[in-house]
């Protein structure tokens, strides 16, 4: 474990035993996908963490080891630091719990992730395509997305 920042130390001591998988760099944390939702709940409501802005939620499609990487980027306005939380889900069964209950913005960031990658979110209020037509076939941002409309370089 290289040099850990104060906030990661706090997380590591408090919730390490049953949630955190490992710490990659001083700003990044990897957790397993089952207990994502309660970990995020702690991040938001814990007194000395208070990450109250879900800055960003993206998906990275690692084709060769057949998995999606979900990246959550949180920012706390009180302690003025941001942290990257990432978790991996299998590519053939991309189902994960939604965090829109904790941060309202997650509802639309997750819709964008579904629109581009096909990641399904359980008990999401309004899961449908965000940018593309409803009858669009395929998920464009996946690495193996083929489309004859696209001209190669």
């Amino acid at each position: 474990m290289n040099k850990m920042t104060a906030s990661i130390e706090k997380i590591y001591n408090k919730y390490q035993k049953f949630i955190v998988e490992n710490v990659i760099s001083k700003k990044e944390l990897r957790i397993n996908s089952e207990n994502l939702i309660d970990f995020m709940y702690f991040m938001r409501n814990d007194s000395d963490l208070k990450y109250d802005i879900l800055c960003d939620h993206t998906v990275v499609d690692w084709v060769n080891n057949n998995s999606f990487d979900l990246v959550y980027n949180l920012y706390s306005t009180e302690y003025k630091n941001y942290i990257i939380i990432s978790t991996t889900i299998p590519r053939n069964k991309p189902i994960i719990n939604t965090v829109s209950g904790i941060w309202r913005i997650a509802e639309w960031q997750e819709r964008e992730a579904y629109d581009f990658f096909g990641v399904l979110y359980t008990d999401h209020k309004d899961l449908r395509r965000l940018f593309l037509e409803d009858d669009w076939i395929g998920f464009p941002l996946r690495k193996d997305y083929k489309d004859n409309f696209m001209l190669e370089m």
């Binding site: 593309l132 037509e133 464009p140 997305y145 489309d147 409309f149 696209m150 001209l151 190669e152 370089m153």
Partner: protein
């Protein structure tokens, strides 16, 4: 009918009607991306005032507009609204395609699954104004070319073979008029 076209009455009538039609072109506000800002600069700002050429009234509803200035990238989802808009416009209608995104897809040609490579695949275009985004003066040049086109064809014998004209800036002429500094920059090579 053929002999009628050449007589003095219709040619003068043509000239008067064309003069009226070309001097009061009302544009339709249709900007999708960055060229929309340059179009707003041209139509709605004190430095470049499109009202001088008679097209001050920027109409919102397609029924009252004459020219559809397409400014910005057209994507797959925007094709249906654009077609509907074009069909709703009343004859005689013209289209000016400003910006390289509209003419050919611009920087989004490769690896884009939605951009339409050029708006002339969707609607017939009369004048192309290249540039990314084109300067307001280039848009004026496009409108002046459109006015010449309107003055050229005659009303009575309606020619619908509208040949699109590339309104590129001719070399050298417009530079002097646009800015004197531009000329100063050309003169002393130090800055190049």
């Amino acid at each position: 009918m053929e002999s009628l076209n050449k007589s003095i009455i219709t040619t003068n009538l043509d000239k008067m009607l064309n003069w009226a039609r070309s001097n009061s072109i009302w544009p339709l506000t249709f900007g999708t991306s960055c060229c929309a800002i340059e179009m707003m600069m041209a139509t709605g700002s004190s430095h470049y005032d499109l009202a001088r050429f008679g097209s001050e009234v920027v109409r919102v509803s397609p029924r009252q507009a004459d020219v559809l200035i397409v400014a910005g990238t057209i994507v797959k989802r925007m094709v249906k609204p654009l077609k509907m808009l074009f069909n709703q416009m009343m004859e005689p209608k013209y289209v000016i395609a400003t910006g390289s995104c509209t003419i050919s897809g611009g920087p989004f040609i490769y690896n884009s699954y939605t951009t339409i490579r050029g708006v002339d695949k969707v609607i017939p275009v009369d004048v192309y104004v290249p540039g990314c985004p084109p300067r307001p003066e280039a848009l004026f040049w496009g409108i002046l070319v459109l006015q010449k086109m309107i003055k050229k064809n005659s009303l009575i014998k309606s020619t619908n073979n509208k040949k699109p004209v590339l309104a590129a800036l001719p070399e050298g002429i417009m530079l002097e008029e646009i800015h004197d500094e531009m000329k100063k920059v050309l003169m002393n090579k130090k800055y190049l």
